[in-house]
Amino acid sequence: MSGHKVRGQRIFRLALATAVLVLVAPSLLADEIRNPFSGDAKAAKSGEFEFRINCAFCHGLGARGGGRGPDLTRAHKRHGDADADLFQNISQGIPGTVMPANGTNGQGVGMTDDEIWQIITYLRSIQVQSPGKPVGNAAHGKELFYGDANCASCHMVEGSGGRLGPDLTAVGTARTVDSLVESVRTPSKRLAWGLTESTKEFAQEYRTVTVVTPDGREIKGVTLNEDQFSLQMMDTAEHVHLFEKDKVRSIQETRESLMPIYNLTILSDPDLDDIIAFLLGVGTK
């Protein structure tokens, strides 16, 4: 029965085509998501204006990283380097970070797809291909981090270390070297951001808080979160405390970081370079 045969062939062909499609589709898809303005200088200029309006608030003028957002001139980006990744991250935001979806945060405007591509074109135009190897010795930096420099008593890297300060696993890709140095030498200048709530405009800072309980105990630590009526904190022994503000004797909060000031007598420049080399290495894995 020819009809039967034909049908069989058709089914076979269809199956083959589907298999090929399944095998090829991801790369086809990646190929299709290309920047339509790639290399276009005029688009890069438009992108620079879009960037100033929409991105510079966190990523700084020139995309070299503000105190909040990462340096975007680096070729390697933690959440993906491909055009498609950048497009996805700008339009949808990055879950679990303060990076918002396009047009949702009140900062800047809702961008069209073309405008997002123009920003990517701009970022490509200022991208530093080889940022240079970190000057320090990462292995020594790791020793210092977990040893003499005592960083790990408060900071965790890849699941190992303390809890009082921010986890530093990703800090190497999230922050510029300059801002890392600033955080070590002058920790109170710009407090790190902690908890970010999806609907809230500003993230919680790592502020220092001292609570005197009704029975007179003084508890010092870091603010995990707070509102007008309640406070959630971690004390220096890593105990979490939950307070209703009207039920304690006093609450004092300061923007003097609990982190000690690592000046040159405590930590030399070469040792700091080593620690930063360690952090950059962890972050780029």
């Binding site: 204006f49 100033r52 105190g67 809702g110 069209t112 809230k200």
Partner: protein, 533 residues
């Protein structure tokens, strides 16, 4: 015809029972009802609750003595993301509101159960500046009116959400949009356009409520030959901005609307548009029937900080004085004569660094150090202003004007930016100042006569919640941490709060059904209604 007594009794009983257990909605909202909104305190008929802009509820059963027992009565979830800025309307037991992405809904105001849901189909390439937001509806006759993000004005049947008419005001591809709650006056639906970030030419429109036919348009940037045109350099007027994206007020005695306007474009670069840039950042007194300009007052001339003057103004009558007050985004509180627009007094109600002196009219003038530079300069208030669109409130009994203030300084920088149709057009960037204190906020009570801040209730971070005052001696406001808070209106002391689980970007309102009072506010992606147990 006589009706036997027992039958009459039965009829009365039936009527009584139906009043208790069922609501028969009469959606016909006449202009007279809007004019006399205070006669039906159970309803909330306009964006600000009345034509004067007071956002004051005459309801008093929820008051300072029992507010501590207020509880959540219902929650309506929109399931949408983004800022939820609506102020609901309530008409005879039905609540009408808008949500993100130009959805609208009608709820049983006692239970929060939907009666209808409406979703305007938006094109994929709309240009909302600051979120896909909408602040509410207007109601007139048997229709509710919606302005959309693609610059449509739509009349919906209040009972079904059937589209009665749908007109296009302007081309959204050029950056025009609506986020405003329209104001219904006589048989007109009045609303102002958004798009000051895109180099639009701003306008305020009035549409026939029955047909959707445009009755008048007032361009907030005057064209050639019109007064004020010479306050723009060259062709800059064509892309001069001056949107009008918040709801104005209406004075029936003089048949005028008072409508505030926003920033000139580009918002943070004055080069290329030298001059005062009328009628940006102004309060306009327009004839409600014709849109003809009677007077204007410009709060910030030649603005370079995006300090829209779009805050809701409030009409205050004090003896024979007919006044209008505004707590402006630039950090000053202004009191004007409503008949002439003459400035009577102005005082800072928040931290301001941009002005050290006043001109002959008493208007604060900018100092040299406030103009943005390529490298950037720190100025207070910051780019989002000392306040913004969140609604203020006035309580004639405490004689206090309540406003949500933001304490935020920013670094303003400027850059030459060519205009491209439909592209964001700021000519600038702004950043948080490194040296500045962390941002914070406060609800402030201002004595309108003296302009002095009488007290403040401090928020630990700035909030986008407006304020409602009530005859119960209460203020209601929300915060960025998700609390809904009741305060003593005279003293500013917090009396009650409820954690709603999402930040507030909305202004509260109050209503009553079957004699039971409710206070409602949007938070996160939900609308909450609170009442006594």
């Amino acid at each position: 015809m006589t009706v036997p007594m027992n039958k009459l009794r039965g009829l009365c009983l039936l009527a009584f029972v139906s009043t208790l257990f069922a609501i028969e909605a009469h959606a016909q909202v006449t202009f007279e009802r809007l004019l006399n909104a205070s006669n039906e305190p159970q309803n909330w008929l306009t964006y600000s609750g009345d034509y004067a802009g007071n956002r004051f509820s005459p309801l008093d059963r929820v008051n300072t003595s029992n507010v501590n027992s207020l509880t959540a009565k219902w929650v309506y979830q929109t399931a949408a993301t983004g800022k939820f800025e609506t102020t609901p309307l309530v008409v005879d037991g039905i609540l009408y509101a808008t949500g993100q992405d130009d959805r609208a809904f009608a709820l049983d105001a006692r239970t929060g159960r939907p009666i209808w849901l409406f979703q305007h189909q938006l094109p994929s390439d709309i240009r909302p500046c600051c979120g896909r937001v909408n602040r509410g509806l207007a109601v007139l006759s048997d229709k509710v009116f919606l302005g959309t993000l693609d610059a449509h004005v739509i009349a919906l049947d209040a009972k079904t959400a059937n589209v009665i008419w749908d007109v296009v005001s302007a081309d959204y591809k050029e950056g025009y949009s609506y986020t405003v709650a329209p104001l219904a006056v006589k048989n007109l639906v009045i609303l102002g356009v958004s798009g000051g970030e895109y180099g639009i030419r701003g306008f305020i429109d009035a549409y026939d409520a029955d047909t959707g036919q445009r009755k008048w348009r007032f361009y907030t940037v005057p064209g050639p030959g019109e007064p004020g045109h010479d306050t723009w350099e060259g062709d800059s007027w064509k892309i001069g901005g001056a949107p009008a994206w918040n709801t104005g007020v209406y004075d029936a005695k003089t048949n005028q609307i008072f409508w505030p306007t926003g920033n000139p474009s580009p918002s943070n670069r004055g080069e290329g548009r030298s001059g005062d840039n009328l009628y940006s950042n102004s309060l306009l007194a327009l004839d409600a029937d014709t849109g003809k300009l009677n007077w204007y007052f410009q709060f910030t001339k030649h603005d370079e900080h995006d300090w829209d003057a779009t805050q809701v103004p409030i009409m205050i009558d004090s003896g024979d004085k007919h006044l209008i007050a505004q707590a402006n985004r630039n950090g000053f509180f202004y009191l004007l004569d409503r008949a002439t627009g003459k400035l009577l007094s102005t005082n800072a109600y928040a931290r301001t660094t941009w002005s050290d002196s006043k001109d002959a009219d008493g208007r604060p003038v900018p100092n040299q150090q406030s103009s943005p530079t390529p490298e950037g300069r720190t100025v207070c208030p910051g780019a989002l202003g000392a306040t913004n669109w969140m609604a203020p409130s006035f309580d004639a009994r405490t004689n206090l004007f309540y406003v949500t203030a933001r304490e935020q300084c920013d670094i303003f920088s400027t850059a030459p930016q060519p205009y491209e149709v439909g592209h964001a057009y700021y000519g600038s960037a702004y950043f948080p100042s490194d040296k500045a204190e962390p941002y914070w906020g406060a609800l402030r009570a201002i004595d309108p006569a003296s302009g002095q801040v009488k007290w403040e209730f401090r928020h630990i971070s700035p909030t986008w919640s407006g304020v409602l005052s009530t005859a119960g001696g209460l203020l209601f406001t929300g915060d960025a941490e998700g609390n809904f808070i009741a305060l003593d209106a005279a003293l500013g002391k917090p009396l009650w709060h409820f954690q709603m689980g999402g930040a507030v970007y909305a202004s509260p309102m109050a209503f009553a059904v079957d004699g039971k009072e409710y206070v409602a506010i949007a938070a996160g992606s939900s609308l909450y209604a609170f009442g006594l147990p």
